[in-house]
């Protein structure tokens, strides 16, 4: 339920943004592509997984455990685990954000979107919509078996005046001797209108 609400809120923002500036054309617009809506939604975190020589488990902690210690290699309970099989062509995994309040409410990152193709496609789509993505890039054939990706936390604050750290592209290390990597935490501050 929480993920549905999050996706609905996020995609609603995209739909409203897409509706702005409409012309006076009388032809009905084509229905929006729901997959692109998810990929371009504000606060969505994407992981680009190029072809790997090993199976790669992607664990997305629930919102209540989104503040993961980057040094930790333990998968929080209730995480959404999916595995990208070895030799799979480049795929992108999109993780919906957690809205403020879900952290204490025990909500979970119920769903992730998996689609083939990589950073170039999603990045250009995000740029087109004016919503740069928070993107994690994994090296090709990295010696990684498990990656823990906390969802972005969207925090509302009436006093916050700094710019949101969105549009960041982080290249994850090839892990060296390690086989588990935890992605850095992601917090988006959104100024509330109230």
């Amino acid at each position: 339920m929480a993920a549905g609400l999050r996706m609905a809120v996020a995609t609603g923002l995209v739909a409203v943004a897409g509706g702005c500036g409409g012309g006076s054309s009388t032809t009905a617009p084509a229905p929006p592509d729901p997959v692109q809506m998810v990929l371009q939604a504000p606060g969505v975190r994407t992981v680009v997984v190029p072809e790997q020589r090993n199976d790669l488990t992607v664990a997305v902690p629930p919102c209540s455990a989104a503040d993961v210690d980057p040094e930790s290699t333990r998968v929080p309970e209730g995480s959404n685990r999916t595995v990208v099989p070895k030799s799979t062509q480049e795929q992108t995994i999109a993780i919906p954000p957690c809205l403020e309040g879900e952290r204490t409410g025990g909500g979970g990152t119920d769903t992730v979107l998996v689609t083939p193709g990589g950073g170039a496609g999603t990045q250009s789509a995000g740029e087109q919509s004016g919503q740069p993505q928070n993107q994690l890039l994994l090296p090709r054939n990295a010696n990684i078996r498990l990656i823990i990706v906390p969802p972005c936390l969207v925090l509302t604050s009436s006093s916050y005046s700094g710019g949101p750290p969105s549009g960041i592209t982080t290249t994850l290390p090839a892990a060296g001797g390690k086989t588990t990597v935890t992605a850095p935490a992601c917090k988006l501050h959104v100024a509330s209108s109230g």
């Binding site: 339920m1 993920a3 549905g4 999050r6 996706m7 609905a8 996020a10 995609t11 409409g22 006076s24 084509a30 229905p31 929006p32 592509d33 729901p34 997959v35 692109q36 809506m37 998810v38 990929l39 939604a41 199976d55 488990t57 997305v60 209730g78 995480s79 959404n80 685990r81 999916t82 595995v83 990208v84 099989p85 030799s87 799979t88 062509q89 795929q91 919906p96 979970g108 990152t109 119920d110 769903t111 992730v112 979107l113 998996v114 689609t115 083939p116 193709g117 496609g121 999603t122 250009s124 789509a125």
Partner: protein, 200 residues
């Protein structure tokens, strides 16, 4: 006309103020004002009414994960038979989505978005996609029956029962909205390694 009168008329012609620019400017100003009012009216449309029964944009796949299962979503406009053939060889055609579901208690629900008519579901045109729910997690239901994950709504379900020996499930996405007509389908129990969901 005397020369003096002619000079006076000529001077009147020369010094009479030209009103044409004022008239053109006034018309343009009025046009901008009216246009601005009309455009300004369009900027605040009334809010759309709530959608009690959102349109179908996906089909659901429910997979028992009493064993590890590989789900392969065919690319748009690709025969699922070809996807199944490649899946047996550990490969997948370009544009396919591959997700391995580890063994865990409970079922996993996957929403497979429909292919779009012209542009395909992603920028690459023919790529498929899958929305994977966490193990044992129920997706929200929508009015009129169905499951949703944000803007993606499924109104029919393909079910792989726990007794199936299949380790690979190939599912083709539907091509048009309402293609499934709300029908649920149970995949047959088979000893085959690969089971393919019927096309829409």
């Amino acid at each position: 006309m005397s020369p003096a009168a002619a000079d006076s008329a000529a001077a009147e012609t020369v010094y009479r103020p030209n009103r044409v620019p004022w008239i053109v400017g006034g018309v343009l100003l009025a046009g901008f004002l009216i246009g601005g009012l009309l455009v300004g009216g369009e900027e605040v449309p009334p809010p759309p009414p709530p959608v009690p029964n959102p349109p179908e944009s996906a089909r659901a796949l429910s997979v028992s994960t009493n064993r590890e299962r590989l789900v392969v979503v065919s690319p748009c406009a690709e025969p699922p038979r070809e996807t199944a053939r490649q899946a047996r060889e550990g490969r997948a055609p370009t544009g396919a989505t591959r997700v391995l579901l580890p063994e865990a208690a409970g079922d996993r629900t996957i929403l497979v978005p429909h292919c779009q008519d012209e542009r395909g579901v992603t920028a690459s045109g023919t790529a498929s996609a899958a929305v994977v729910a966490a193990s044992g997690r129920q997706l929200p239901e929508v009015q009129g029956g169905g499951l949703s994950a944000g803007p993606i709504v499924a109104k029919s379900q393909v079910i792989l029962p726990g007794g199936s020996a299949a380790s690979i499930v190939v599912i083709p996405p539907c091509g048009t909205p309402d293609a499934t007509q709300g029908r649920d389908q149970l995949l047959p129990l088979t000893s085959e390694q690969v089971v393919t969901a019927p096309s829409c």
